[in-house]
């Protein structure tokens, strides 16, 4: 039997940590900008291109996930927990894809320009429709809170495995390479 990988590939780990930073920044900017006056414009100007960057990267990440399956779960994990971990992983892929798309769609329906930088802007992907905007705007907020809660569950689970179970689960994803067994 070939020696099984104990870690995600270096590229997978790079994507994970880069996107973790982007998503957390994004969630914080999202809740901050809706209560901001003076900083509203600056925050929105970051929020839109950053969201589109996440949309592009999640597609890369999903393809990478199919090409490079994760290393095995530690033996300490019962089947149900493995199922929950995989389900939350795919839920987060789904949210990273759907949230920017809903954002792009709602801005399209309201005819807010989606400026990336300078004069570079995205086309509108939905017809102008205030009602549609209203529904998508609510969905955007709701999905963002679902994402935050999913992230909290993910964060709590890895802390539990690292500090209580101590099964070295975090080693699968640490940015540095660990020695093979």
């Amino acid at each position: 039997m070939s020696t099984q990988r104990r870690q995600f590939t270096a590229f997978s780990r790079l994507l994970h940590w880069t996107m973790a930073a982007m998503v957390l920044t994004m969630l914080c900017i999202g809740v901050a900008m809706v209560v901001s006056l003076d900083r509203y414009h600056v925050l929105v100007s970051i929020h839109r291109p950053l969201g589109i960057a996440i949309l592009i990267l999640v597609v890369v990440r999903f393809v990478n996930r199919l090409l490079n399956p994760p290393p095995p779960f530690p033996g300490t994990m019962p089947g149900a927990e493995r199922l929950a971990a995989t389900a939350s992983e795919f839920a987060m892929y789904g949210l990273m894809f759907v949230l920017p798309l809903v954002g792009w769609g709602m801005l399209s329906a309201a005819r807010y320009p989606i400026v990336l930088f300078g004069s570079v802007h995205l086309p509108f992907i939905l017809p102008q429709d205030a009602r549609l905007y209203s529904v998508l705007r609510m969905a955007h907020t709701l999905l963002a809170y679902v994402f935050f809660l999913t992230f909290i569950a993910h964060f709590a689970a890895i802390l539990f495995h690292t500090l209580i179970v101590r099964d070295g689960m975090l080693k699968r994803m640490v940015p540095w390479n660990i020695r093979p067994e």
């Binding site: 809740v31 006056l37 003076d38 509203y40 414009h41 929105v44 205030a130 209580i164």
Partner: protein, 369 residues
């Protein structure tokens, strides 16, 4: 009691294990609380009294009532459309495509300030003009202007306080003088601005009003300079003073006259850019720049079509003053960002509501005012 060393050690280990597990759980709790706390903090949960876009929008609803489907400010209005013909004079000032010689389509909306959609027209009500320029490369430029030469306040906080102070007392239908006096005592800049505003003669209608962008922006020039600017549109229709006195007017007299005028012939304005000099404040919309500042006529706005909010494309446009093309950027003025935030809040609220018919109906527009 018999003591078995091995068992004691085991119990100690277990106790130690329990303590260590408790510490680990505590650590997990702290880590989760820190993350959730940060999220809640940036989301404003710990500062419930801070001024937010929602609170300012609530302020409009508090003063003018909730009128579902209508803008929370500038509720009463009509849509217009036409084009902007650039003369090329702005090319050296800004890289924005809108200033290249040629014509771009424009959608706009004339309105009265305030959140009451059926308010009777009066000459001294604030008149608004929102414009959207659709640039050939797909960029949009939106600006929302009013007929006041300066804005009464400098900051979003002062705006909110003035808004609340201006709520009419139900018994007198005028703002409470004591509240207003207290506000003015705290805001000398507003007293100065009101003097300037009252010193400017009011024109007879929308068509011969000058509309001011008020806030300072920056132009990025092809030479690489960042130029502080303000803009306004000056009417090509001759000035005529609003008639004084309290002669009874039709409820929609200003809009009726506007509709009749556009049915007769297109209305035109010159788009004028005022070039700021170093030292001119860009963060204070309550004071104008010196009168001798260079003014550049960059083109002509022609509005040749008028429509009710019921049919006009302008009805669903949020005239967000920070929808800017490349070549125009915000300055350090705190108001545009706040306006952008509050307009967005107002737009989101009305987008989900069912609107009542507007004061100016499609039939009013067909009749020609």
């Amino acid at each position: 009691m018999s003591s078995i060393p091995g068992a004691a050690a085991g119990a100690a280990r277990q106790r130690l294990g329990k303590t260590s597990a408790a510490a680990s759980f505590a650590l997990i709790g702290v880590a989760l609380a820190a993350v959730i706390g940060t999220f809640a903090y940036v989301g404003g949960w710990f500062t419930p009294n801070a001024l937010t876009p929602a609170r300012i929008t609530d302020g409009f609803e508090h003063v003018d009532g909730v009128h579902p489907g209508f803008r929370r400010n500038h509720a009463k209005g009509v849509g217009v459309s036409g084009f902007f013909e650039s003369n090329g004079n702005g090319v050296r000032l800004s890289k924005a495509v809108v200033f290249r010689p040629g014509r771009v389509p424009v959608i706009g909306r004339f309105s009265l300030g305030g959140g009451r959609p059926y308010v009777a027209d009066t000459p001294d009500a604030v008149r608004g003009l929102g414009l959207q320029f659709s640039l050939p490369d797909g960029e949009l430029w939106r600006t929302a202007m009013i007929n006041l030469p300066v804005f009464p306040v400098r900051t979003p906080e002062a705006f909110y306080q003035l808004l609340i102070a201006s709520k009419p007392d139900p018994s007198t239908s005028k703002p409470d003088p004591a509240t207003m006096k207290a506000f003015l005592a705290r805001h000398p800049e507003t007293v100065k601005a009101l003097t300037v505003i009252k010193g400017q003669p009011v024109s007879s209608g929308f068509g011969n009003s000058t509309f001011h962008g008020l806030n300072a922006f920056r132009f990025s020039s092809p030479a690489g300079d960042s130029i502080p600017v303000r803009w306004l549109v000056t009417p090509m229709q001759p000035f005529e003073a609003a008639s004084a006195g309290s002669a009874p007017r039709a409820k929609n007299s200003l809009f009726d006259a506007l509709i009749a005028a556009i049915h007769r012939q297109p209305l035109q304005w010159r788009l004028v850019v005022i070039i700021g000099q170093p030292g001119d404040p860009t963060n204070d919309a309550s004071i104008g720049w010196p009168a001798e500042r260079q003014q550049v006529d960059v083109g002509t706005l022609t509005l040749d079509r008028v429509e009710s909010d019921e049919t006009s494309a302008a009805a669903d446009i949020n005239f967000d003053p920070l929808v800017l093309p490349a070549g125009i950027t915000p300055s350090d003025d705190p108001l545009p960002s706040a306006r952008s935030a509050v307009y967005s809040q107002s737009f989101t609220r009305r987008a989900g509501e069912t609107k009542q018919p507007s004061a100016i109906t499609p039939a009013d527009v067909r009749r020609g005012g």
